[in-house]
Every structure is written in structure tokens, then in C-alpha cells.
């Protein structure tokens, strides 16, 4: 089955962290330990939303040493496709759910002598697990965390209490912003940089670092893309001999799954590369929205990432 073996879990706890964010704790239904993971890993949460199957990736934020449960934090997105709203409105303690095994696309490079972390908003979650991991091993880190306002700065209190000299907080509504060039210029040789947050922030941090001479191999980022909505479109699946219609709020991957096609996937957010599919024929425009294909591959229209990308035009035939 695509996506690997699943974890059968029960919701142990739901905590309202602030007006936008809820935290969920999952434990194994049979009381056993959950698989080990490393800081930066995510899990794909399966939701049965009144017949619509939703699978959303969320970073694991709990201590990787604690295998009695997994914790995630979910920011409510009113304008999203409904996954976060389902988590906020319908998921309650005691409910049985299904998770994927943890996958890490945002791991710490342990060869680094120091880890510089830059988080924006809900992008703090992978860093919580990474910081717990580094605390066990005695690794050096420095965190710069910006949020819209003090009340929306989830987990700032516990982070600043535990690591007062390593955590720096910024609030948009107070006009505060990280002095990025200065922070980047002051890092000892062998520092690796990690950034997670809104798209614009990630692009700004990475391009600034590269312009200051930071090597690409020392730069790590993670952004999960929601599949994004669009006009409905038709796709011919060459291997399965089916023609399907992708709905306006559905992804191509979800449409394939709904028609009974077992397509490969892992992150479902355009990051991991697992769902990469060859295009046989493209008479129109593929709306590439992934982080996986190179700009050249995207321009060639010979590959598509069905988890996030869409199509506009006459005919699209893919090898699935």
C-alpha cells in the first residue's frame, strides 16, 4: 500500500494553545511504544471528513526520546481545504485515528558544530523536537522565532524559560524583525542554518544566506504546501486505463486515490519526491507547485508531482 505501513493511534489529549493553534497528542491504541523518530520528522494524519479522505502532513513537535506518544500542533486555516478545520472542530480525546510512520525531510546535520534555527509562526514545530534532541546530546543551537503577536507566539514561554540565552523572539505587531545579515555574519564556521515558516520568509532567509557566501549544503528548509485549489481538469491515467476528473478543491493525487488507483506518496506537500510521475502527453500547461522538480524539469513538462500540482488545458496523460 502506498505511504507505507500505518500507525493505529488514539487521540490522548487536545489542548488549545492559542486562538489559532491546537495541540494533539496521539498514543498507540494497543499501548505499545510508537516508532522512534528524529527532530524535524513529520507524520501524515489521515482524516475521514464525512466521506472525504484527507491526508495532511504535520511536523512532530514532541521530544524524540518520548516514544509513549506523538504531538503535533495545527494552525487553523479558515481559507484552506478543510484539513486543519477538521482537526480543530472534530478531533477530540478518545477518537481513533491513523498516522503514517514518521518521515524526516528536515533532519539536523549532526556534522554541524552549531545549528542556527529561524522559525516563523507555526513553523516553530519541527524546531521543538530538534531542540529537545539537541538538549539530550548537548548540541549548540540558536533560535530566532517571529510571530504576529505575543499571544500567537506558541511555545515561546517554554522555550525562553528553558533556554533564555539561546532563544530570540520577534513580534510583527511591534514592528520587530530579525537583523538577518548581522545574525548570519556572526556565525562560527561549521554552522548549519534551518528555516521553517511562510514561503516569503524561507525565500528571504535562503537568498540572503547565499548572497553572504553560505554554501547550499549548510542551508536546510521545510515548507509543506497545501495542494491549492483551482479549476477542475481531466487527466488520463495511462497505466490504469482510466480517465478521471480532478475537482476544484481536490489534488490530482487525491483524485487518483478516490478512483481506486494506488499511487505512491509520502509527504503530500511537494517536498519529498515520492509521487513523481512521468507525463506521456501534455497539451496545455502544468501548474507546477512543488519544491522537488528542478526549474528545468518543470519547464520540460515531462514530469508532474500529483500531490500539489495541477493542469490547465486540453489533454494530460500521465504514467500511472
Amino acid at each position: 500500500m502506498s505511504g507505507g505501513a500505518k500507525l493505529q493511534v488514539r487521540v490522548a489529549e487536545v489542548v488549545e494553545v492559542n486562538e489559532l493553534i491546537k495541540r494533539f497528542r496521539f498514543v498507540a491504541r494497543d499501548g505499545s511504544e510508537l516508532p522512534a523518530f528524529s527532530g524535524g520528522a513529520h507524520t501524515v494524519v489521515e482524516m475521514d471528513d464525512q466521506g472525504t479522505r484527507r491526508l495532511n502532513p504535520y511536523s512532530l513537535m514532541s521530544d524524540p526520546e518520548d516514544r509513549s506518544g506523538y504531538e503535533i500542533s495545527v494552525r487553523r486555516d479558515e481559507a484552506g481545504r478543510g484539513g486543519s478545520l477538521f482537526m480543530h472542530r472534530h478531533v477530540a480525546p478518545g477518537m481513533e485515528m491513523v498516522l503514517s510512520n514518521p518521515v524526516n525531510l528536515f533532519a539536523l546535520d549532526n556534522r554541524a558544530k552549531k545549528h542556527l534555527m529561524i522559525a516563523g509562526g507555526i513553523g516553530i514545530t519541527p524546531f521543538l523536537a530538534q531542540i529537545a534532541q539537541l538538549t539530550h546530546f548537548g548540541g549548540k543551537f540558536e533560535l530566532h522565532y517571529s510571530a504576529r503577536s505575543k499571544p500567537l507566539g506558541a511555545y515561546m514561554d517554554r522555550l525562553t524559560a528553558a533556554h533564555p540565552d539561546r532563544v530570540h523572539c520577534y513580534f510583527d505587531e511591534l514592528g520587530q524583525q530579525i537583523d538577518l545579515k548581522r545574525v548570519l555574519a556572526n556565525q562560527p564556521i561549521g554552522t548549519h542554518l534551518y528555516v521553517c515558516g511562510p514561503k516569503g520568509m524561507i525565500a528571504w532567509v535562503l537568498s540572503t544566506a547565499e548572497s553572504l557566501g553560505w554554501p547550499k549544503q549548510a542551508l536546510h528548509s521545510e515548507e509543506f504546501l497545501a495542494p491549492g485549489t483551482g479549476l477542475p481538469f481531466q487527466v488520463e491515467l495511462a497505466a490504469s486505463g482510466k480517465t478521471i476528473t480532478v475537482g476544484p478543491t481536490q489534488s490530482l493525487l487525491e483524485a487518483m486515490e478516490a478512483s481506486g488507483v494506488d499511487a505512491p506518496y509520502l509527504c503530500r506537500g511537494g517536498a519529498c519526491g515520492q509521487c513523481e510521475t512521468n507525463v506521456h502527453k501534455c497539451d496545455g500547461t502544468i501548474l507546477h507547485r512543488d519544491h522537488w522538480l528542478t526549474p528545468e524539469e518543470q519547464a520540460s513538462n515531462q514530469k508532474i508531482m500529483p500531490c500539489v500540482s495541477r493542469f490547465e488545458g486540453k489533454t494530460l496523460v500521465i504514467d500511472r
Binding site: K113, A185, G190, T191, L212, G213, P215, A218
Partner: protein, 208 residues
């Protein structure tokens, strides 16, 4: 252009390092380590700079003569880099490099040029700071003699020119492989007459 030490068409293995010409990259500091004929690669590097005087002002060069005696210090002195340090040998250069690295910041670019022994040992110092080795630029110039570790006694023999050769530590006859260790900064030497002691192929000069 990519240059390798392997004759055209000869099979090699993936751990065999490859070397490309040095290219200027954006940096707050340019740290350049070279030996012997590597000085020519350093001069060529500055020839490619868009803003030569800015690059010179932010450059530090550590240099030592090559194992064949080539000393091009004069050409480097003529460049006018902000700091130039000349060491008599590689072992004398490495502590200075470690000292420079201890105070270096991200935004530093590394350029290594010269023999594989110099490149490998300098790369190891840089790599040990946690800086990604793939981002260290390396250009081979000059002698092709190898730094080889005997896989049996672990002793390292510098400037190996012939293959096979006698380990300078344990005396075994060693075949010089292309198998390279970044951690050791050395090629691997394996006993060639283990099964039939004394049956040693004639030694030829493979590295000059």
C-alpha cells in the same frame, strides 16, 4: 572543465576525488590554501574576480612549497593579498590553518590548490569544523605523488611515487588504490603479496 589524475579511459571508483578550476564566489573572507604549483591556480583565481581589489582585501593565503621543491611564494607576494603566510612544510602549515579556522565565520569561502596531499589535509581541517566538504573548492596542480595509508599497520607514507611500494612503517608491499578516505586524507594501500609472499609485481613510477 574537470580534471582528474586518472589517464583518459581508465576505470576508477567513486571515492576518487575530482578537481575543478577555482572560481570566485561571494564571501566575507576568502581563505586560500596552496602548495607548490598551486600558486598558479591562485593567481588564475584572482584573474577571474569581478572586483579584484575587493577580493584581495578580503583574502588570506596560506602557502608552502610543493613536495618537488617548487616554491612560487614570489608570485603570491606580488598579488597583494591582505594576509600571506608561508610555511616551510604542510605539517607546519596545518596548525596555522586550525588557528585561522577557530576564528572564522560563515560567509568564508575555501579554495585549495596544489598537490593532493595538501588538498586532502587542508580539506580535512575545514571539514572537521562542520563546514560541508562539497562546498570546498579544490584544484589539483603540480605533483601527483600520493599520501597513502597502509590498511594493515595504519601508518601513513607521504609522497608515494611508485606502485607497488614498501610501507615506510611495517615494510609490507602495498598496492596503491584509487580508494580515497576524506577522513584520513589518504589513499588506501593494500598488501599485494598476501597470498604468495614474495610474488611482487615490478614497481613502476605511477605518480610524479
Amino acid at each position: 572543465m574537470t580534471t582528474t589524475l586518472i589517464p583518459v579511459g581508465a576505470p576508477s571508483i567513486t571515492s576518487r576525488p575530482v578537481y575543478a578550476p577555482l572560481e570566485p564566489r561571494p564571501a566575507s573572507q576568502h581563505l586560500i590554501i596552496a602548495d607548490g604549483e598551486g600558486a598558479e591556480a591562485v593567481v588564475a583565481l584572482f584573474g577571474k574576480a569581478n572586483d579584484r581589489s575587493a577580493m584581495l582585501a578580503a583574502a588570506q593565503v596560506l602557502y608552502t612549497p610543493g613536495p618537488n621543491g617548487t616554491d612560487q611564494s614570489a608570485a603570491l607576494e606580488a598579488l597583494g593579498v591582505a594576509q600571506l603566510f608561508r610555511a616551510p612544510t604542510i605539517p607546519a602549515l596545518l596548525p596555522r590553518l586550525a588557528r585561522v579556522l577557530s576564528a572564522a565565520h560563515m560567509g568564508t569561502q575555501f579554495y585549495l590548490a596544489g598537490t593532493e596531499g595538501l588538498i586532502g589535509q587542508a580539506e580535512r581541517e575545514v571539514m572537521n569544523t562542520g563546514f560541508p566538504h562539497a562546498s570546498v573548492q579544490k584544484e589539483h596542480r603540480g605533483s601527483t605523488v600520493r599520501r597513502v595509508q597502509c590498511v594493515h599497520c595504519k601508518g601513513i607514507t607521504e609522497n608515494v611515487a611508485t606502485d607497488p611500494f614498501k610501507c615506510s612503517h611495517c615494510g609490507l608491499n602495498l598496492f596503491v588504490r584509487d580508494h580515497y578516505s576524506r577522513r584520513m586524507a589518504a589513499f588506501q594501500g593494500v598488501n599485494i603479496d598476501a597470498e604468495d609472499p614474495g610474488q611482487v609485481p615490478e614497481s613502476v613510477v605511477r605518480f610524479k
